[in-house]
């Protein structure tokens, strides 16, 4: 494969992504959390809407949800931002968004190898492996563009409005793309074997959830082991060590990309 052919494959992938309506919908939906971080500022003792139009104290907000007094005195700003990021990156981007991306990219290969389309493409002086890889990279590009847009937007929103600099948000771009890369490879394998978009979507989502279950079981097991160790530890043990023992296993399953966040 020469550079002209590589250039053509990349362009082809970009055209395919930009024409995809799921991509366009997700890009518009990604604007919602980005705008949220630009419109809502998390300050030391209060949350500010639209650059001062409305202000809420953390204590007041907790009371409104019948949680008055809980956690007060701790780093409320940090906790609020952490909760927000967990919702956006872990739940929306890392789970729902990823599933939508799997569904939106699952047809890339079946459409390429369906009767009529395959002959036009496969007679070109490109190996089939190259063509399949180009579709794989196309899928990764699909997610990378969306997650980069969302991640960089949120990072800038938090940095400029809330003065919160968290590079973990940027690492999460790679984390989510990496997770998708694994699931997408399964999706492609199923697509090549079955030539079916539906089978590809179903089996790759099953793989995604299957892995999620295994991961959660593993986290749960670690937590049980940690609490057992804690119970069996002598009472005179260093309180710092006891705290460490409690903390072990609790950071699993958090935001993708953070040193402590796993997809």
């Amino acid at each position: 494969m020469n550079t002209i052919q590589a250039q053509a494959l990349v362009k082809d992938s970009i055209y395919q992504i930009l024409d995809n309506w799921v991509f366009r919908i997700l890009a518009v939906l990604a604007l919602i959390p980005i705008l949220f971080t630009f419109l809502v500022g998390f300050h030391e003792d209060e949350i500010v809407l639209l650059f001062g139009l409305k202000r809420w104290s953390y204590g007041g907000l907790l009371s409104a949800f019948d949680m008055g007094g809980q956690g007060l005195g701790q780093d409320m700003r940090g906790m609020a931002i952490e909760a927000l990021l967990q919702i956006i990156l872990d739940f929306l981007a890392g789970s729902i968004g990823l599933i939508l991306c799997i569904a939106a990219t699952a047809f890339f290969v079946p459409r390429m190898i369906e009767k009529g389309a395959a002959d036009v493409l496969f007679h070109k002086p490109l190996s089939r492996l190259t063509l399949f890889l180009s579709r794989y990279v196309g899928g990764l590009l699909f997610v990378l563009l969306l997650v980069t847009f969302t991640g960089v937007g949120i990072y800038l929103g938090l940095l400029l409005v809330s003065n919160h600099n968290d590079p973990a948000i940027l690492y999460a771009i790679l984390g989510v793309t990496y997770t998708f890369g694994i699931v997408h490879s399964v999706s492609m394998l199923v697509a090549v074997v079955t030539r079916s978009t539906v089978a590809s979507i179903l089996l790759s989502i099953l793989f995604f959830f299957g892995n999620g279950c295994i991961h959660n079981i593993w986290v749960f097991k670690e937590q049980v082991q940690a609490s057992e160790q804690l119970e069996s530890a002598p009472l005179e043990a260093d309180p710092e060590e006891r705290r460490e023992g409690q903390g072990r296993g609790q950071g699993q399953g958090r935001l993708p990309g953070h040193p402590d966040r796993r997809p």
Binding site: L9, D119, L121, H123, P125, L126
Partner: protein, 308 residues
């Protein structure tokens, strides 16, 4: 003339396994296609035409025999750079515009974007797609898809072109344009390999024809060789009457009158005699047409003979 395609003893069996006999799509096919010719491949459904083309394009694996194309083994990547292919019932990516299809597929064949940008408007014009070039392929009619597909096969200016049903779904004006393009390609020394069920189109476009049936070549030759004279001659005369038959007493056989004149089986000498007799009786002869078998008639005879 140098052979652009050279095939010796080519055989292909689908679905063959340790306990399965499989279906033999090609059976010991040998063929040579000369440079700069327009070559027609004919045959009924299941004759093995598409399999033959796909083997040459490197799209079908595991075959026996020898197949060389542009001096290289069939399917070789370097050879494929110099080949254009319009598959039957092809599907181009719906997310691309016609112009993008030509640009990207030309680049896949190794042509630079600048080289293509200079030539794409010309090809769009030749296939009559200048107007719809910037619309998405998914919005195209069947005929428009066929035209862009044809341009896609030609845009990188290959030395050898395979066209599988090139006029499928194309209107009569478009067919004339396709014929004109193929004639232009022949004039510029490009070899064109056409597979079509429209025998009249093949008869008009091709120099050489191969007829296949049940995976074998049953006849090949020039169009003239495959459409021999039948010996019958059609006479068109001014105001034909019933008395014309009596003028031909003792000449020819199987006299058949028609509204424009008559048709009869004659030798060349007898033909002159008939003309003399008609003139002597003051009959105005408007035209004399020796009847030839059409390619379609020849094809049907051969294929039916083969099945019997």
């Amino acid at each position: 003339m140098e052979s652009v395609i050279s095939i010796r003893g080519l055989s292909k069996t689908y679905g063959q396994g340790p306990f399965k006999k499989g279906f033999r799509a090609l059976n010991d096919v040998s063929l040579d296609v000369g440079e700069g010719s327009v070559f027609g491949l004919l045959g009924p459904n299941g004759a093995g035409k598409t399999t033959l083309i796909k083997i040459l394009m490197g799209l079908v694996p595991r075959w026996r025999g020898e197949a060389r194309i542009l001096g290289r083994s069939a399917g070789d990547a370097e050879a494929r750079k110099r080949i254009g292919f319009l598959p039957e019932a092809h599907r181009l990516p719906g997310y691309l515009t016609g112009r993008q299809v030509l640009r990207l597929y030309g680049m896949y064949s190794g042509r630079s974007p600048r080289w293509l940008d200079e030539r794409i408007p010309g090809w769009l014009d030749r296939v009559g797609m200048t107007e719809g070039a910037d619309r998405k392929v998914k919005e195209y009619s069947k005929g428009m898809q066929q035209r862009i597909g044809l341009a896609q096969a030609l845009v990188h200016e290959p030395e050898l072109i395979f066209l599988d049903e090139p006029t499928d779904g194309v209107d009569p004006v478009g067919r004339a344009a396709v014929r004109e393009i193929i004639a232009g390609l022949r004039d510029s020394g490009v070899t064109v390999f056409i597979n079509s069920h429209l025998l009249m189109e093949v008869e008009r476009m091709c120099d050489h024809v191969v007829i296949m049936s049940k995976g074998r070549i049953i006849r090949q030759g020039s169009v003239d060789e495959l459409t021999p004279r039948t010996g019958r001659v059609a006479f068109e005369v001014k105001s034909p009457t019933d008395e014309l038959s009596s003028l031909l007493t003792g000449l020819g056989a199987d006299y058949q009158a028609n509204p424009k004149g008559f048709e009869v089986t004659l030798s060349e000498e007898e033909q002159n005699e008939v003309i003399d007799r008609l003139r002597a009786k003051g009959v105005t002869i408007r035209g004399i047409q020796p009847r030839k078998l059409t390619l379609e008639e020849s094809f049907i005879d051969l294929v039916q003979g083969e099945s019997q």
